[in-house]
């Protein structure tokens, strides 16, 4: 149980970072932390105590395996996370070229 709680704490750490940091890159890093905590959670829910890697062994029909589906989902989610992170970094680079700063307090054209 403690591992799941650690996972959730990591999620909250990332969330705290998103809320309090003023630097664009640090916000992106905090989002990555949240992302990783979610992936970790997925990897944990597939774990079966004493389970082997999920490759079916014909010689031993009653062998315990870990659940392969969360692992497949994490792989997919990592690819998606890569896309979002790189998209965000591209936008941050463009923002830096336009505004000359990473400080989010300086970037406030849009309001109302």
């Amino acid at each position: 149980m403690i591992t799941y709680i650690m996972c959730f704490i990591l999620f909250l750490v990332g969330f705290y970072g998103v809320i309090t940091r003023r630097n664009l890159v640090k916000i992106a890093v905090s989002l990555s932390i949240m992302e990783i905590s979610t992936f970790l959670f997925f990897a944990l829910i597939g774990y079966v105590d004493g389970g082997a890697a999920p490759i079916v062994d014909p010689a031993d029909p009653v062998k315990t395996y870990v659940d392969p589906l969360p692992q497949a989902m994490v792989l997919t989610a990592i690819v998606i996370g890569l896309a979002t992170t790189s998209m965000m970094m591209a936008i941050i680079i463009r923002l830096y070229r336009k505004y000359g700063t990473f400080d989010i307090r300086e970037i406030k054209n849009l309001k109302g």
């Binding site: 999620f11 969330f15 998103v18 664009l24 916000i27 989002l31 949240m34 992302e35 979610t38 959670f41 997925f42 829910i45 589906l69 969360p70 989902m73 997919t76 989610a77 998606i80 896309a83 979002t84 998209m87 965000m88 936008i91 941050i92 463009r94 923002l95 336009k98 505004y99 970037i107 406030k108 054209n109 849009l110 109302g112």
Partner: protein, 511 residues
């Protein structure tokens, strides 16, 4: 197994790649190809709209049949409700793509624009048609990542800032959704929506279930911009290129937000009364606060974006009333009416909000500003834009005989019949404020300062006029959905699939 279902995802994906490759060598390929593909998809979706009825078509990806009635493959599901939303996506998508033919000349990199557009359509079709929770997440990310890129398409200060805000909140929403999916999988050991329903019907831990519901609601609520989560919407929708604003406001927030909320909370979760009261409250807040934020705006696109929040509030409100009545188990006929009103308003909003954004785009295209104070007297120079925007404004404010009147009427009648008198009164008041706001838009943009001399202003080119006129005709035609025969053919199957608690799950698992 219906072989037509995967086409909704495959065709736009293939189109996106072909545009990037062939579009480099053949000029004009991107425009024609995108429009043709989307016209094709719109035709198929109309075919499904008229033939689906009460049936539920299932396509199992990879041909994985269920084992002992436990679905193991990824399912694509087409039922009455899906057919309606798919129809909206592809029709508005086609009209926006056709409209962009003239508009996009002001940007460079047309190939990227059309490729991202196709990817966004593929993602939205995927979300709507998927019967599998994780698959919904994957397609949702495809559509929103292309939406992030399209919002930033102008790469100026405002666009980039809006895109960054959208991305931060969008990423938060994705993690909440992913976390919720993980929690569901942990207990239910399955990802198929129908199977999760049966897994949870065998009993569950109340607190856990509530936690999952709140995660999912806040995740998809962020994507749908319901009021406490709305901060990104006005920036993102007003900064995007205008045909994309029409897509984002008219379709994206419905397909990846409202649709999924409705689908999951009716067909997957069993909603308690207190939770449905929460959903109704969120809807009411969106409806009221959205319109008050809108009325002070002078930038047309921001004004329209805030009205999107308010109109989505109507949909959530009426669907929430339906949920409350279903949870109480009393007066099912009123619940049916409320949900029908919500879905009808969802369809109507796509038509008139898409049209309004296209009008705003036409104005911006001609005189180069979005500020209402700098406009005026345009009715003389742009008769088609003026007439179509009049139709859309009257529709959104609920004036008969346009479609908005009938859907708002159904919502208000359902609220009164369900004895939610306060909500009915609020809906009427918000409708009046909407009317005031759009009269302001009409006056300042088209009728004020009639003698104002402008240089050479002429009406926008043919593709833009065509899309606007088709949408305004659709606004009128949609009023026909209240006629009993038509309503039973199109709206009733969608409502039945939502109100019947077991039909969706049992039919899909049985196939």
């Amino acid at each position: 197994m219906n072989p037509l279902l995967p086409l909704f995802v495959i065709t736009p994906l293939v189109a996106a790649f072909l545009i990037m490759i062939i579009g480099r060598f053949v000029s004009g390929f991107n425009k024609v190809f995108t429009s043709l593909i989307l016209l094709f998809l719109a035709c198929i979706s109309f075919y499904f709209l008229f033939t689906t009825g009460e049936n539920i078509y299932v396509y199992k990806v990879g041909g994985w049949e269920s084992v002992n009635n436990i679905p193991i493959g990824i399912y694509m599901v087409m039922d009455g409700f899906t057919a309606i939303v798919v129809c909206i996506i592809n029709l508005i998508g086609f009209l926006s793509a056709f409209y962009s033919i003239s508009y996009i000349k002001r940007y460079t990199a047309e190939n990227y624009f059309y490729a991202l557009f196709c990817l966004m359509i593929a993602g939205m079709n995927g979300v709507v048609i998927s019967g599998d929770l994780f698959n919904i997440f994957v397609f949702l990310e495809i559509s929103v990542i292309s939406a992030y890129a399209l919002v930033a398409f102008g790469v100026e200060k405002n666009e980039l800032e809006a895109s960054f805000k959208y991305q931060v909140l969008g990423c938060l929403a994705s993690f909440l959704i992913l976390f919720g999916i993980g929690l569901i999988y942990w207990k239910a050991k399955t990802l198929n929506i129908a199977d999760i329903k049966t897994a949870f019907s065998n009993g569950y831990d109340k607190t856990y279930y509530l936690f999952v519901q709140i995660l999912i609601l806040s995740g998809f609520g962020l994507k749908a911009a319901i009021i406490p989560f709305h901060a990104w919407l006005p920036d993102a929708h007003s900064s995007a290129p205008s045909p994309i604003s029409a897509m984002l406001s008219g379709v994206l927030i419905k397909a990846v937000g409202i649709y999924v909320i409705i689908r999951l909370f009716f067909n997957m979760f069993v909603v308690s009364e207190s939770f449905s009261v929460l959903i109704t409250t969120l809807g009411t807040l969106s409806m009221v606060i959205g319109v008050f934020l809108a009325i002070g705006q002078w930038d047309i696109k921001r004004l329209l974006a805030y009205h999107s929040i308010s109109q989505m509030g109507y949909v959530v409100l009426s669907v929430g009333i339906g949920m409350i009545l279903i949870a109480r188990g009393t007066r099912p006929e009123v619940a049916t009416l409320a949900i029908a009103g919500g879905l009808f308003h969802l369809i109507n909003h796509a038509a008139f909000k898409g049209l309004l954004f296209l009008n705003a785009c036409a104005i911006e295209y001609t005189i180069g500003t979005r500020n209402l104070k700098e406009m005026g007297g345009l009715a003389k120079y742009m008769p088609a834009t003026s007439a179509t925007s009049f139709v859309a404004s009257m529709s959104i404010s609920g004036i008969p005989p346009f479609n908005g009147f009938f859907s708002k009427l159904i919502i208000i009648v359902a609220a009164v019949m369900g004895r939610f008198y306060f909500l009915a009164a609020l809906a009427v008041i918000v409708s009046i404020i909407t009317l005031a706001s759009f009269l302001k838009f009409q006056r300042y943009a088209f009728y004020d300062k009639p003698d104002f001399k402008r240089g050479k202003i002429k009406e926008v080119p043919f593709p833009m006029i065509f899309s606007m006129i088709v949408l305004s005709v659709i606004c009128l035609i949609l009023s026909l959905l209240v006629i009993p025969g038509v309503r039973e053919a199109i709206l009733t199957p969608a409502v039945n699939i939502l109100t019947d608690p077991l039909k969706y799950a049992t039919t899909i698992i049985g196939q």
